[in-house]
Amino acid sequence: AAPAAPADQAELVGYLRQMVLIRTFELRAAEMYQRARIGGYCHLNLGEEATVVGLAAALEQRDFLFATYREHGYAIARGVSPRRVMAELFGKRDGVSGGWGGSMHIFDASVHLLGGYGIVGGQLPPATGAALAVALRTPPGSESPAVMCLLGDGTTNIGSFHESLNLAAVWRLPIVFVVVNNGLGMGTTVEAASAEPELYRRGAAYRIPGSRVDGDDVLAVRDAARSALDRARNDRQPMLLETVSERLRGHSVVDPARYRTPDEVEAARRADPVPALRARLVGAGALDEAAAVAIEADAAATVDDAVAFAEESPDPDVGRLFANVYATPVANAAKALPGDPLFAPGELDDLDDLDDLPRGA
């Protein structure tokens, strides 16, 4: 990357701080998973930190973000407290989704993070619809909100990708689809799965402008995302942005990624954006080693605190199991626990007078 201007240097230090926090958080999440504090599937942003921070930096508060199941870092970068993210991973009451969602389903309405989604491609149509709501309610222009919808490289092959991009383009919606290309969908390479492996070109089928950016370069990501968001807000032109980075570990915490060659693993390690940015800033004199270490120590303390918070947080209340099934209460809603009879003892007793009515037989 080109040498950064001094103003950028300060910003970059801030970005490094966030990247280090996410890195630390994710490594700790992996550890907590191994220690059975976290269950289910757990997908990490390791290797994707520059992309996470660059994209989040481009978003305005009023913008809406739809994410995938690989979203811890996005939540943190968007402003959710690491405590509440960790508590969610732990399945605790103070988790950002109340312990109901887990790693794949981080949602925080207050920061306009409208969810991580576990069904591949599932987030694209709702994100498109959110952009429709924005378009119907606010005029285009620099003050308009926009929607950013994240997806993985492998997700460009599912039907909802096609339908959503087409809808967004036909309806001219303020949305930026960001393909976070980490080279793999689980163990499948982009080339094996996508007949057009230059994924940003796939916008052509909808006349959606596409571009590709180095996902390890936080400023490049931020700037590309900003300009895409601007076109979305101002011109109601949906955009397709591809960021290219590497996945440092397996698909999820439990995947040993044996399908990768040592060379591939080594290449990924070499591309790691976190030490790279650190080295760059230290090299440029924007940061001395002590300050860099302090950033790392801060991150470790923040994550320690998040883990302690998550440990302490109580379990969700089993008594509120049915509280969030519906927003509008409704008669006869099912509330039985396994093994409950259909009718509580006595519940039908008042019907018994009916039994005195004349019967057919």
Binding site: P125, P341, G360
Partner: protein
């Protein structure tokens, strides 16, 4: 009270709700320029314009999912899926997303949307266009599913659905669109989650929903002439299911038959029979019987289609058998 068709009742309700609340918008294939595949939305494009009467490409998954996202931001989309058969293209969005979003995200979001879609066979549309697969949706927590059988209920349930903050499927029926009935003027809501006694009776209960209610009522009337007093329970909602009303009727008459247009095995009637045998075990004089479709992909040829779909004759035959078996004194 005006007498209008089920189609007209739906149409008028959509128009009224759109006038009342500008966050209501319609989405679906051919609902605007084409005026709706079954003409429910005729004229609405002219009144409300293309932003609120939104023709979509053929992208069921896309536009149903888009309605979800729009609803999450506070709009109240009413989506038309041309027939319930095509809902299978969108079912991931309905079941894995609309139904889950509220609970899965800890109650932070709601999805106030409606999906209108007709089921129904008997139109010679062949195997992939003649299904009654409401049980797919009725099975899913987080959804509400209503099945109006009359123009009045079409109005009342659709109104309730639009004003509800949860995803509600309004399952209409191709065979009902042209049927007529009285519809209350002005505001009319029918509570979701409650069944109705469509016809009171003493000797046997017929439980039905949607088009089958009409068949049941006609059969009940004929039975009346033979001195058999049949009660007809119209479920109105499949989820939540008003088990109490069904069981009350079963306890009263001691004989129950379910009439349903879907396939027998694992259909709606299975839940009813299961419910009744649990709630009215000591009251039943005979097992609950189900009159449902034959378990084949629905054929095109009329004589075959007729053989497959349940009708008044099959219902009446079963009722006769039940009355005989329980020594009913005619």
């Amino acid at each position: 009270m005006a007498v209008v068709t089920y189609r007209q009742a739906l149409h008028d309700t959509l128009a009224a709700e759109m006038r009342r609340d500008e966050s209501v918008l319609l989405m679906g294939e051919e609902i605007g320029r084409f005026e709706g595949s079954y003409k429910i939305t005729a004229g609405l494009l002219a009144e409300f314009g293309p932003e609120r009467v939104r023709d979509t490409p053929i992208s069921e998954e896309g536009f149903v999912g888009a309605a979800i996202g729009a609803a999450m931001l506070g709009l109240r989309p009413v989506v038309e899926i041309m027939t319930i058969n095509f809902s299978l293209l969108a079912i991931d969005q309905i079941v894995n997303h609309a139904a889950k979003i509220r609970a899965m995200f800890g109650g932070q979001a709601s999805v106030p949307m409606v999906i209108r879609t007709p089921g129904g066979g008997g139109q010679q549309l062949g195997a992939s266009h003649s299904q009654n697969i409401e049980v797919f949706y009725a099975h899913i927590p987080g959804l509400k599913v209503v099945v109006p059988s009359t123009p009045a209920d079409a109005k009342g349930l659709l109104t309730a659905a639009i004003r509800d903050d949860d995803p509600v499927l309004v399952i209409e029926n191709l065979g009902l669109y042209s049927t007529k009935g009285e519809v209350p003027d002005g505001e009319h809501l029918v509570e979701i989650g409650r069944a109705a006694i469509a016809r009171p009776g003493e000797d046997i209960t017929i439980v039905a929903y949607s088009r089958a209610v009409m068949v049941a009522l006609a059969a009940a009337q004929n039975l009346g002439r033979d001195g058999v007093s049949a009660e007809v329970v119209d479920l109105r909602s499949l989820r939540p299911l008003d088990r109490r009303t069904v069981v009350a009727s079963a306890r009263k008459t001691s004989r129950v038959v379910v009439l349903e247009d879907d396939w027998l095995s694992y259909g709606i009637g299975a839940e009813l029979a299961a419910t009744i045998q649990e709630g009215a075990f000591d009251y039943l004089d005979a097992p609950v019987r189900r009159v449902a479709a034959a378990e084949v992909p629905v054929p095109y040829a009329k004589p075959l289609e007729n053989a497959v779909l349940p009708d008044a004759a099959a219902l009446t035959k079963v009722i006769g058998e039940m009355l005989d078996a329980t020594a009913f004194d005619r």
